[in-house]
Symmetry: C2
């Protein structure tokens, strides 16, 4: 089985490495930036290309691991060259029908946050699949199951809901860590003291209902502490954005009964 | 060594259990609510009391594990009865001098989120200590080191900074999990699919700089996805509070360079 990867960013990089480790042949890696394509392709003995005309039609699967905004346009260009090949995108919030220009289309969405700085354990990453034919869905399932123990068939609406939830659970919680990190930097206290707290809070969310284990001054309606924290954010740290977030979060948490 | 616990809430409960497991004698547990005091006291063969006049003066340490707002007033009442006893509070944001009515005073702040639903591993919980005398600080260190491998001496200002950071890292990230959980409930998709993402995001914050590993549609300035998510929050879920948070978070994340 030969696979071509469109894209050389974070998702593409981790997918290429994961698929290669499972024994799949990565045939070509495409990126508009040839250096990026070459860097990734060289890790798995693939060919790097930076024009669509260079893409080999003789492959079994093309994976579009590119920004959501580019999917429709790139799929349109690809479909002119690779009309019979199964094409899948890797986006949580992009519907399958954005690939409707492709005769054989699917979705291969790994529900995880990927950074170039850190390896991932593919086996534990949920992969959400969709395809416009049963036969192609079976093929995607086989590939996904070689990568991961957690393979699910979700339609575009379900996947979108899960991706929206993921933005809160991952992107926004990471932004909270970022602010916490910056506060400790500014005040010269040790961020690593928060590590057990961060891990425990996350771990707890996997075994308890988050609402039921909400803690903190806002949950306790501890107005004096809330005012003290707001004062530090405003007058000491002079961080009006963090203050706005602190106030909004606290107001909403106070509303939890 | 005999210890009296003032309070029977989450912090008091976990501290009583942890100290008892380390071999410390919990002598009395005080709560205005006798049933709460009795329930906790019975787990460690301590006496439950609900009036300050019943407190035994012959103890080595009194721990005030009560709401931040009550610390000053309760310390005032206690100091009339227990003038020679070392008294500590367990609050992150309350200064040591809020106990200035007490001749021997200190802080014993365990930096963790405590729920009655879930046991904790005391050994990994940072404990931040402060006292107004070197001798009492030595005594607190000894107790803390029996509980935990991570014992630090932090002054009130440093502790306050760390607690403010902890509100972002823990309370606010948990609220993000809560919203994610509610979205999955409303849309009838499986919250447990987000568990690996939640754990990976938290784990990554302990090995990378959170700002450097920020991901998501806001970080990518993916306006179409942002609009799509905002539309779901507003028109489909009809959750104006979550929408306000989504917009504020996204705006701030977009500002990260």
């Amino acid at each position: 089985m030969k696979i071509t990867m469109i894209g050389a960013g974070r998702v593409a990089t981790h997918l290429v490495k994961g698929l290669h480790a499972c024994g799949y042949k990565i045939h070509q890696v495409y990126s508009r930036n040839l250096a990026s394509a070459s860097e990734l392709a060289s890790t798995v003995n693939a060919c790097a290309v930076n024009t669509i005309a260079q893409l080999d039609k003789n492959v079994d699967l093309v994976i579009l691991a590119i920004s959501d905004q580019a999917i429709e346009e790139v799929a349109h260009q690809l479909s002119l060259y690779l009309s019979d090949v199964l094409m899948v995108h890797t986006s949580g919030s992009t519907a399958l029908n954005k690939l409707s220009i492709c005769f054989r289309r699917g979705v291969f969405y790994p529900l995880q946050t990927f950074s170039l700085e850190k390896d991932v354990n593919w086996q534990s990453i949920p992969i959400l699949l969709e395809a416009n034919s049963d036969q192609d869905l079976i093929q995607l399932k086989e590939i996904a199951r070689n990568l991961s123990n957690k393979v699910y068939c979700y339609d575009s609406a379900q996947r979108l809901s899960l991706h929206l939830a993921a933005v809160f659970a991952c992107n926004f919680s990471n932004y909270c860590y970022d602010i916490a990190h910056q506060i400790t930097q500014e005040k010269q206290v040790d961020f690593s003291l928060l590590h057990p707290l961060i891990l425990e809070t996350a771990q707890k969310a996997t075994v308890c209902t988050p609402k039921e284990v909400q803690t903190g001054p806002a949950k306790r309606h501890d107005e004096k502490i809330l005012q003290l924290h707001e004062h530090i954010l405003e007058s000491d740290l002079k961080q009006s954005e963090w203050l706005a977030l602190y106030c909004l979060m606290s107001e909403q948490i106070k509303g939890i009964h």
